[in-house]
Symmetry: C2
Subunit: 485 residues, 2 copies
């Protein structure tokens, strides 16, 4: 394994094996790759895995204990401490007195950021099957650079030197209104508000439409960042099971009746993590429920450019009356530019702009104009065609490999993500594979409440390496021999 | 007046004079330049100002009444309706049933966004004395474009195609750590988290450190966006009077004792709107109060680059123990790029990163690297030297004009902003001058609670036009003849 910081100890290093082992666990706890409450491997397992003596492992765990990073539970082993996020927060907070520390600010469930941290981990030179985006070598850097250069040379210089319009660059909003028509969504440019990526658009919508304590329907499994943000803002999550047939409409109706939610947040097309797309019939039923129980819908269409245009959007059926439509360009142009937007009912636009102003004032016009250029010139469309063709081939190969190694797809493989049953708990599996340099997205990260899961999300673009599936297969076999605790 | 949409009626237009007048008031209400609760001019005044008959004005006001934008109060005239933000929200909300509408989401006080909307209004070709930034012709577009081109040509292509680091571009964070040393603030790059402008940095800090209901000390007068954001997040504002001698320490001590605030948000250097900078002695006293009453401090150093390096920063005295330091580049490079940051005590960094991830995931690396380039090459420093020299000259001229027209400076003129007493209520004054194409920043916008004010903030860079002061003088004289209601 040549990955730069794979979990390998070296006898020639300046630090002792104990120090190296403790240091690597500490780093993983700090990175949230080992979440609070997670159990460290047993001493025997850990010793075997790293080729050291049990004594070395015990000494390393004792160091972690002394640093306040883990706690020992009698007869059960060592567990990552709640709130123990590593050297920073393990040090006593110098400011808050104990009386105040008793009522700490509401923080996101730590689990929920673990996957995001993993996305940025960059630990390995190997492809990352747990990645949430297209890998860099699938993207078109010359396309991006030439669009930016074009704006620098021909753009409106006044726009480059002022805050810009509160709703976002008008050229981009016009181009988006045209693009949305391809999906059957009819929006005027005046209904569109740009944001620092689709995540920011979702954040703006949450803050503009909800108050702490409000109930919100969410798909489960679903996207961890959305759960975490809603929780951090003080909302009550109402998870609705989402399967190959769409959201469970009976559960949704019961929850709506009992909890009077204000909002349903959903990915209709190429849902993350299942890859499922809502059928026309289910879309109609969801809208009827929303009307009957008087909640709004936020449709997160982050994967829009990887799907056929004809797939039904709730915003198209609804005519943007009750639905807000959110999307962006992270999954097709680049995640780095952070260009996203929301298209909303006219009556809500000013409220969304107010929240945008309070959170970031405006958004960078130069990047918005470069995206507009890609839309106007058709270069985005041609790039998306190339990417989807390549993704079709990658999916075919990944599915064959997965199935050959005993994995089962829970929903029919589509789009960027596969939702895969491994038959074993994927949380310890993820740690084993991370030791070998492979980033996994284990199933528990896609649930609103922490629970063991045998599922994982794979990215078809980064799961074509036979070595990954061999490593996974070996880890599965080893893991299924362990007694379930 | 040749301003494109100055408040001028034309008899040759397709619409009647009544329709034009009503339309222009409606637009101004929608833009929040006429805030809810504001009184429309009397029929006689309005008729005189626009050279139309009183009958035309009555008919126009009736149209606004019919549209739900204003309400008539017996014997008192017409007032902009609370919540009546123009055509969008004046239309009945098609989704929320009355039962739910009774508990609407917490929204920012509308006043607070009025100034921001004004900043983006672009109503006039005239200089805008109420502007919050340097005017575009003071900025250096070739500098920005060449930095961006440099990054496009020589930058790390992998960075352009991935989310980037959660804390922000490491090259920028290193450059910032070096730059902060100029202000006496010692921060390692690992203590710095970048954001979509200083506004976003303040938003991240608020969300990471506070819970709804917490009390927060703020300077008054102060920056409207900060009041509005804290209010929108559910915090209780504790305004501390800020004058030429610094914050009132007695008031601060009393508020701290009685309300146990968690945070004090302040601009130490070139405070907005007073231009005042905190003395070393007052900085020491503020920190002692913070320690005694156990609150943290957020120091917003947005105007850092327009001030001498030697002015004391709270973060420098405190060594970033209890203080978080926020700044950005909107007031020196361009507001359009939205590059800002927070430098924080080590124990808080991970918590800030979590909130950043939940709000926007990451921030655009290409713009952060371009700013880093400007810092590393010294081009930002040279540009700032040119700007401050020009600002010194502009301030000299503006102060002379202001004083010649009977205005008095409440605090000694420094930096970008002057805090000026006009002797008359500046809210109606602002409307009169806006009719003539001049954007004002009236004093009530800088107060946490709405109250009449004879003060206004001027931007020295955009207040050098003698015509502005003549127009202001004439409006003052006319206004001081009106009976105060």
């Amino acid at each position: 394994m040549n990955a730069p910081d794979a979990f390998a100890l070296t006898r020639a290093a300046g630090a002792t094996l104990t120090e190296q082992l403790a240091g690597q666990f500490a780093e993983r706890i700090r990175q949230r790759l080992l979440a609070p409450g997670a159990r460290l491997p047993s001493v025997r397992d850990c010793a075997r895995r790293h080729g050291v003596s049990p004594h070395t492992v015990v000494a390393a765990y004792d160091q972690l204990l002394a640093q306040g990073l883990v706690e020992a539970r009698r007869q059960r082993g060592f567990f990552v401490r709640e709130g123990g996020r590593g050297p920073h927060s393990a040090a006593p907070d110098p400011v808050l007195a104990p009386a105040k520390a008793a009522a700490p600010p509401r923080v996101a469930p730590v689990d929920a950021t673990a996957l995001i941290r993993g996305m940025f981990h960059g630990a390995s030179q190997l492809p990352a099957p747990g990645l949430g985006t297209l890998p860099p070598d699938w993207l078109d850097l010359p396309l991006l650079a030439s669009a930016l250069r074009r704006v620098l040379t021909h753009g409106d210089s006044a726009l480059a030197l002022q805050y810009g319009q509160p709703a976002g660059d008008s050229r981009l909003r016009e181009a988006l209104a045209t693009k949305l028509a391809d999906f059957g969504v009819r929006a005027r440019a005046s209904q569109i508000v740009t944001a620092t990526g689709a995540t920011h658009a979702l954040d703006i919508v949450s803050r503009a439409l909800l108050s702490p304590g409000d109930a919100v329907l969410v798909d489960e499994p679903g996207w961890a960042v959305e759960y975490a943000r809603l929780t951090q803002l003080g909302m009550r999550l109402l998870p609705v099971p989402r399967g190959a047939d769409g959201p469970d409409l009976n559960v949704m109706a019961t929850l709506a009746r009992e909890h009077r939610p204000r909002l349903y947040v959903t990915v209709s097309v190429l849902h993350n993590p299942t890859g499922h797309s809502l059928s026309l019939g289910d879309a109609h039923q969801v809208l009827k429920l929303a009307e009957a129980h008087d909640f709004r819908i936020v449709e997160d269409d982050t994967y829009a450019h990887l799907a056929p245009n004809h797939l039904p959007r709730l915003a198209a059926l609804d005519g943007l009356q009750r639905t807000l439509y959110v999307s962006g360009f992270s999954k097709i142009l680049t995640p780095s530019w952070r260009v996203g937007y929301v298209a909303a009912p006219p009556a809500l636009v000013e409220r969304l702009i107010d929240v945008k102003l309070l959170s970031t004032l405006t958004t960078p016009a130069v990047l918005e104009q470069a995206v507009a250029h890609c839309l106007e010139q058709g270069s985005l469309r041609r790039h998306a065609e190339r990417v989807t063709a390549r993704l079709d081939a990658a999916r075919h190969r990944s599915v064959q490999l997965a199935q050959a190694h005993g994995c089962r797809f829970v929903t029919p493989p589509q789009g960027l993500f596969g939702w895969v049953d491994t038959g074993v708990d994927t949380e310890p599996l993820a740690h084993t594979l991370l030791d070998q340099g492979w980033l996994l997205a284990p199933g528990h990260l896609f649930h609103a409440t922490r629970r063991p899961s045998t599922l994982m999300r794979i990215n078809f673009a980064t799961s074509q390496d036979a070595r990954f599936w061999q490593a996974l297969g070996a880890a599965r076999r080893a893991s299924s021999k362990q007694p379930v605790q």
